[in-house]
Symmetry: D2
Subunit: 97 residues, 4 copies
């Protein structure tokens, strides 16, 4: 991906703020697949998800962090915030992730 961006000289557009905007824009396109309900074209969903992930990886790269590592770190934090016995089957507190 880094090579792809470098070849096209696109890095200059990829400020953290622009990448955050791009993640939101692509997240909106992904959400559009589900605008009126759960039935969505699986292939289109996969492509839109790939677009969100692409910009996430570009931002992670820009921040100098590893995508999988920061997800695991956050999971540890969330684990202590929502202990099994108090969160089982309830979405109420989870909203505040």
């Amino acid at each position: 991906m880094r090579q792809f961006v470098a070849e096209r000289d696109w890095d200059k557009f990829h400020t953290p703020g622009n990448l955050a905007k791009s993640i939101s824009i692509e997240a909106g396109e992904l959400l559009e697949c589900f605008q009126w309900g759960e039935s969505a074209d699986r292939e289109r969903v996969t492509e839109e998800l790939a677009d969100v992930l692409t910009y996430c990886y570009l931002l992670a790269n820009k921040l100098g962090v590893e995508a999988e590592q920061i997800v695991l770190d956050k999971l540890e934090k969330t684990r202590s915030k929502y202990p099994v016995d108090r969160s089982r089957g309830r979405s109420t507190k989870y909203d505040q992730l």
Copy 2:
């Protein structure tokens, strides 16, 4: 992550549509770090990015696809759409990713 979700019996909330909503919501929180400009707290950005990625991985899991694989597949498609010689240093076409 799958274990974390299973322990809390949260899988029942994780329809593809709800996960797509969650990605959009978290993308908005990430964008909030850059609401008035590029200066943003690096630690907060990392945490918000982790939240977006978490829901992306949950949706990929639900779709039965690998996050890194679908990003590479999409990259191949984009590569043929934006050949180096016609895209160098220009953001105009890139907008349509």
Copy 3:
């Protein structure tokens, strides 16, 4: 609203791009009310909707257009795009609004 912004000298933050970001951020907070389903606190929904509208009005003001007028103009366009006889009860084409 203009007076409120002027008193606080906040107009300098309100570039069209920053207002567009703000609309997305607030739209995400509104969506959060419905993250796991349709049951949402009516008062919170109303407040989040007010936040989205506030930034919409600030952007309309910045563009020199009237919110209600541009909605009516767009409605006329959409009316010819989705004639009654071909759109009745179907959401498929509507997705492309």
Copy 4:
């Protein structure tokens, strides 16, 4: 607008949650105009803003509230939260709107 929706029998799709999703989706399209910077096509921005506003008005109608009234109500609340003397020229606290 109500007549337009009724003629097409689209009201059944317009649950509050679906309208909130639609607001987020359209906000993403508006943001796309500013993906790589402030230069954006004025006409396209106006149309995308109209789409966001359309769904905002449909949700206000669904909630039984007036768009302009809830914006004024919220403005009163925000006014007491950000007194002129402590907010002048600073964006820091404003982020938490």
